[in-house]
């Protein structure tokens, strides 16, 4: 009941063909559908219509983050909670957005447009449902992650945003980074029994720090770095490990400047998982455990 997991991220790109080429050839996502100004992409193991939407726009940026809910009635109950909080909610009807049914949309206190959706068109994975091989079909290009994993956004007031995501939407706090005064400067939130589906760090309201795709293991992370380097993609950080989430990671930028991540590892928090706290003097190890420090670029650059 409630929110299940991240469904899709919609981003703006000033060059739709270049972005599509990168996401299909280098990341190895599959193009599901295309309109005049939009391209819909999914990972090979995803059965829902899309997990990434690219829209042509003169400037890069985040259009919305969309989470999948388990039941139809979750939309109504979460809608009334958000409205009671004083935030206007817009309903989109079936057919209004490509590949999905009814949804609700609202702006969050951290300034991102958020969508909750239950019914998504099933286009199927790449494997048969009878006697499937345990790996994707041969010949996939690029990194070919099986699925999208999480999104990290920026907010001026992380604490306020966190209360909205936890108290209203039911996200659970797995880890937090506190400054010397005890204020939250970063939070990691989950619904899917993973270390995070959504994270919020201090920065501009409405900003996107990165979105991440899941890889099966550290060896796949290493191979991803090979593919990125071969294609001349700018690697931001890694391969390395996070203190927060315990994940193994590489950060890099798509050709228009949106930060991507491939991620694996972590742990399985129960709903009663006791929150882990990181103190600001350990921020380096919290984010990059091997380096023990953060680069200026990682701290400042977002879209």
């Amino acid at each position: 009941m409630g929110i299940l997991r991240l469904s899709h991220v919609d981003v703006r790109v000033p060059d739709l063909d270049l972005a599509t080429a990168y996401y299909t050839e280098v990341l190895g996502l599959l193009e599901v559908e295309r309109t005049a100004g939009e391209v819909f992409l999914k990972c090979w193991d995803e059965t829902d219509h899309h997990s990434l939407k690219l829209s042509y726009a003169p400037r890069v940026g985040l259009d919305l983050i969309s989470f999948k809910v388990e039941r139809d009635e979750d939309l109504a109950s979460l809608e009334s909670r958000v409205e009671a909080y004083g935030f206007p909610v817009r309903r989109t009807s079936r057919g209004e957005a490509v590949g999905q049914g009814e949804s609700i949309r609202f702006e969050t206190p951290s300034g991102q447009l958020m969508e909750l959706v239950r019914e998504v068109e099933k286009v199927g994975g790449l494997l048969p449902k009878v006697n499937p091989p345990p790996f994707p079909p041969q010949g996939l290009r690029g990194i070919a992650p099986p699925r999208i994993d999480h999104v990290l956004v920026t907010a001026e007031e992380v604490g306020e945003a966190t209360r909205f995501y936890t108290d209203l939407l039911g996200f659970r706090l797995t880890e937090q980074l506190l400054d010397g005064n005890g204020h939250q400067i970063g939070v990691w939130l989950e619904r899917s029994h993973s270390p995070h589906d959504l994270a919020v760090v201090t920065g501009a309201n409405g900003g996107l720090h990165h979105f991440a795709f899941w890889l099966d293991d550290w060896d796949h992370v290493r191979k991803a770095a090979d593919i990125l380097a071969y294609n001349g993609v700018q690697i931001d950080v890694g391969p390395t490990r996070h203190g927060i989430t315990r994940g193994n990671t590489i950060y890099f930028f798509d050709p228009l400047g949106t930060r991507n991540e491939v991620f694996t590892g972590g742990y399985r928090p129960d709903p009663d998982f006791p929150t882990i706290t990181w103190t600001e003097d350990n921020i380096g190890r919290a984010i990059f455990y091997y380096e023990g420090e953060l680069s200026e670029r990682f701290m400042k650059v977002h879209t």
């Binding site: 299940l4 009878v130 029994h193």
Partner: protein, 302 residues
């Protein structure tokens, strides 16, 4: 809401000292409690008091399996479900069944297994601090899996067992169908993984194996090194499953209970369309690389 995941297994062992030595030194679990006839163990990353209970008995096998529920009132709800099905349910107060144990209900499943649902087991913490923790503890011995993962039991009537677990909220992810269409084996989940419990055709009440989670294929290889070094009989693997897509190694504890180390798999939405394996492809369903299942794997259980 409802059942969250596998909480613990209680297995019988005829030599409690030997079994404890194996589960702590070779598997690398931690001892959290001990009585005259029972030893309580947990994996390093688990927060609750125990995930494996060893019970002294003249024979081997499964004493009971326990699943964790999310809220205290899930126990009542599940109690109603089991009673409506015709099962007898007993209620147990916190701490009554074992040291550190939560409030629980127990009943027999139609597959002849003693099953428990538990809430509020004592939290003893994992081995890491809650402030600025390193990503793993150093100096663990043995394989040291972070947590228990799933259980695989045998049942005369897999279809009836599957129906029963679905009543408790489990969802079917994969099945092997015989040529006449009946279920030979089923994989069921509540935790968005390929399986928390699986059923395969065999005697009622039997334990095929229980499995611990490892982080990746390299850890499975390393586990095989540890097992071989200690002279533990490796039954199958390291290899890969068709069903669940997982990577695996199977082996036996000194009492003869089958253990597994498992990793991989996929994320499962509640509206996941189950995968079906046909009887002709059963070999690949179980062991994808070998494409065949040996007689021992089919017939030996505890």
């Amino acid at each position: 809401m409802g059942v969250l995941r596998l909480s613990h297994v209680e297995v019988r062992v005829p030599d409690l000292e030997l079994a404890t030595a194996y589960y702590t030194e070779v598997l690398g679990l931690l001892e959290t409690g001990r009585e005259a006839e029972r030893v309580f163990l947990k994996c390093w990353d688990e927060h609750e008091h125990h995930s494996v209970m060893l019970r002294y008995a003249p024979t081997y096998g499964l004493e009971h399996m326990g699943f964790k529920v999310e809220d205290a009132d899930d126990l009542e709800e599940c109690e109603r479900v089991v009673e409506k099905y015709g099962g007898q349910v007993t209620r147990h107060a916190r701490g009554e069944l074992a040291p550190g144990h939560g409030e629980a209900i127990r009943f027999d499943t139609p597959t002849g297994h003693r099953c428990e649902l538990v809430h509020g087991m004592e939290k003893v913490g994992n081995l890491l601090p809650r402030t600025n923790p390193p990503p793993r503890p150093l100096g663990l011995v043995g394989i040291a899996p972070p947590r228990l993962d799933h259980i695989f039991v045998t049942a005369e009537d897999v279809e009836e067992g599957t129906r029963f677990f679905k009543l408790l909220g489990f969802r079917l992810t994969e099945q092997i169908l015989a040529d006449d269409g009946h279920q030979l084996a089923t994989w069921l989940e509540v935790s968005h993984t390929p399986h928390d419990i699986a059923l395969v055709t065999g005697p009622n009440g039997g334990l095929h194996h229980f499995a611990f989670w490892l982080d990746d294929w390299n850890d499975v290889r390393s586990a095989a090194d540890t097992l071989a070094y200690h002279g533990v009989p490796i039954e199958v693997g390291p290899t890969r499953h068709g069903a669940t897509r997982g990577y695996t190694v199977y082996f036996f504890d000194p009492a003869g209970n089958r253990n597994e180390m498992f990793t991989g798999g996929y994320w499962v939405d509640p509206d996941h369309e189950p995968v079906t394996w046909t009887e002709a492809e059963m070999g690949r369903a179980i062991f994808y690389y070998e494409g065949a299942v040996n007689q021992r794997f089919f017939t030996v259980h505890s």
